[in-house]
Symmetry: C2
């Protein structure tokens, strides 16, 4: 008799099978690895419910179309796999990723049209971009000279794993004692960081970059919350200097919602304290998790 698999650290769906996360792998020869030829999306589960699952599925299916990747299953079938991963893990707060890779063409061919695409998914414990201390005091952000891969090369609206620029920028930031990094567009504007969008409160207006960024679901949630709360929003180019002079700066991410930034390039943002707009949006973000318009309970089933 096989021992019962232990899904408590996470559960994965790999080519038709549910496996403990530590046993889940992608073939070395899958172009998803060898050419980073893949797309993905991440939805969170908080207190036993998916948050804005529809928005994540919409974007995931759009990313698949953009990169000519086929998940090989319907929206409802994808949802069922994600729910099963969460349910197997038993996690009440979870980070849930869905992935399509190119797979590989028949041996000897290099034609991506002949590849059989592969669908993967996994649910692991909720991932915070910032630890508790960082969330309290606010993050120290570095603005990097590394240029984010431009839209003319890779479409940032379709979620992808092309992160070398972000990772090299992150090394630079960590070496400089910052917590994380935001990259620039080569024209002096900030764009995005590893796993987040960025916002600044500048002359009373909330600003976030328009171009060269992933259209984050949390970014969209922030914009919607601001509109509801009567905070003026501008989606436009955001010069690095404007971030340095802003009265508030924060990040938006599925990995923690609205995360305050209190230092930029070593200098305090305004007074160096978490600002009131940031606090109000962070509070509202978590309140929305209880709203049935955005929240979809996971059915946890045994066996």
């Amino acid at each position: 008799m096989q021992p019962t698999p232990d899904f408590s650290r996470g559960a994965a769906f790999v080519r038709g099978e549910y496996l403990p996360i530590a046993q889940a792998g992608v073939p070395l020869t899958d172009w998803g690895f060898l050419r980073s030829d893949a797309t993905y999306d991440v939805v969170t589960v908080w207190e036993g419910a998916f948050f804005r699952l529809d928005a994540h599925l919409d974007r995931f299916l759009a990313s698949c179309d953009r990169f000519r990747l086929d998940p090989g299953r319907t929206r409802d079938e994808i949802t069922a796999v994600l729910e099963r991963c969460v349910s197997l893990s038993g996690l009440r707060n979870s980070y849930v990723e869905m992935i399509v890779t190119r797979g590989q063409p028949p041996w000897g061919s290099r034609d991506p049209r002949l590849a059989v695409n592969q669908f993967y998914a996994f649910a692991v414990p909720y991932v915070w971009i910032a630890d508790e201390e960082q969330r309290q005091r606010g993050l120290h952000l570095r603005i990097s000279g590394v240029q984010r891969i431009p839209s003319s090369s890779v479409d940032p609206k379709a979620k992808n794993y092309h992160w070398n620029d972000l990772t090299m920028g992150l090394f630079e930031a960590l070496d400089a004692q910052a917590d994380t990094v935001v990259l620039t567009d080569g024209a002096g504007n900030v764009v995005e960081g590893p796993g987040f969008n960025v916002f600044a409160v500048s002359r009373g207006v909330l600003v976030t970059p328009a171009e060269g960024v992933l259209e984050g679901v949390t970014r969209r949630t922030v914009i919607e919350m601001a509109q509801l709360l009567g905070i003026a929003v501008e989606v436009r180019a955001l010069p690095a200097d404007e971030v340095r002079q802003a009265s508030e700066v924060f990040l938006s991410t599925s990995g923690g919602g609205v995360l305050p930034v209190t230092r930029v390039d070593g200098e305090p943002v305004a007074g160096g304290e978490v600002g009131s707009v940031t606090r109000q949006l962070a509070r509202t973000y978590w309140e929305w998790h209880a709203d049935p318009r955005y929240s979809r309970p996971v059915r946890y089933t045994s066996a």
Copy 2:
């Protein structure tokens, strides 16, 4: 008793173990997959001998340094793993890849400095970028409007899997009935394609792009052969229009050496026949495989 593993389709080295290629995988949670945070190199074995192994190891170790990845083994230890993969497979003509991935930091951390890097390798049957018919008639190349990821974002000299731009360009080329694609730099110059560098014979001079490209070992071999054969070489920006008006065009790649191009964007290159410089370099390329300066026999050992 375990059945004897079948390595005939290829052998891989995965976290300390030798496995048949079909069983080799990378963990779903390795940043090498989830952030394409990896580097690699490919060396070939032809008629039982590595070709220019030293040059590939030099570049691989330089790529590791550039991306702050640690193969965790010496140059000689890497060589031993590669040789063992080839030997297990029994392949006389083989495509041999070495890889370092970031691995992953301890759970909850997003600090790449805390990750334990992982070394992988595999040997599979020799991969040709072009099939036999294409090699005879010459490839049909499309010059794409997709911009290759610029050096300001990702260092092209350190070999990496950031290929979405190349893959999207390849789809475009295949849809247009071309065989493969070369990308441009956003300023009207060609740079590189999926797995190859490009050369043009223009007004009697052999030209290959200087910037924005991988410094291919086959590219370097072509330059060295040309110098020996008394062919003038210029390493500089190569405008797309100059490629269209060239008297000869070819690709250089570990996946077949010197591969003729006889059509560019649907139009024949000069007379549409494989040119004499291309033929001479292709012949010399294979001759060099027997030269002990470049060739290192694989020790095939049983068990």
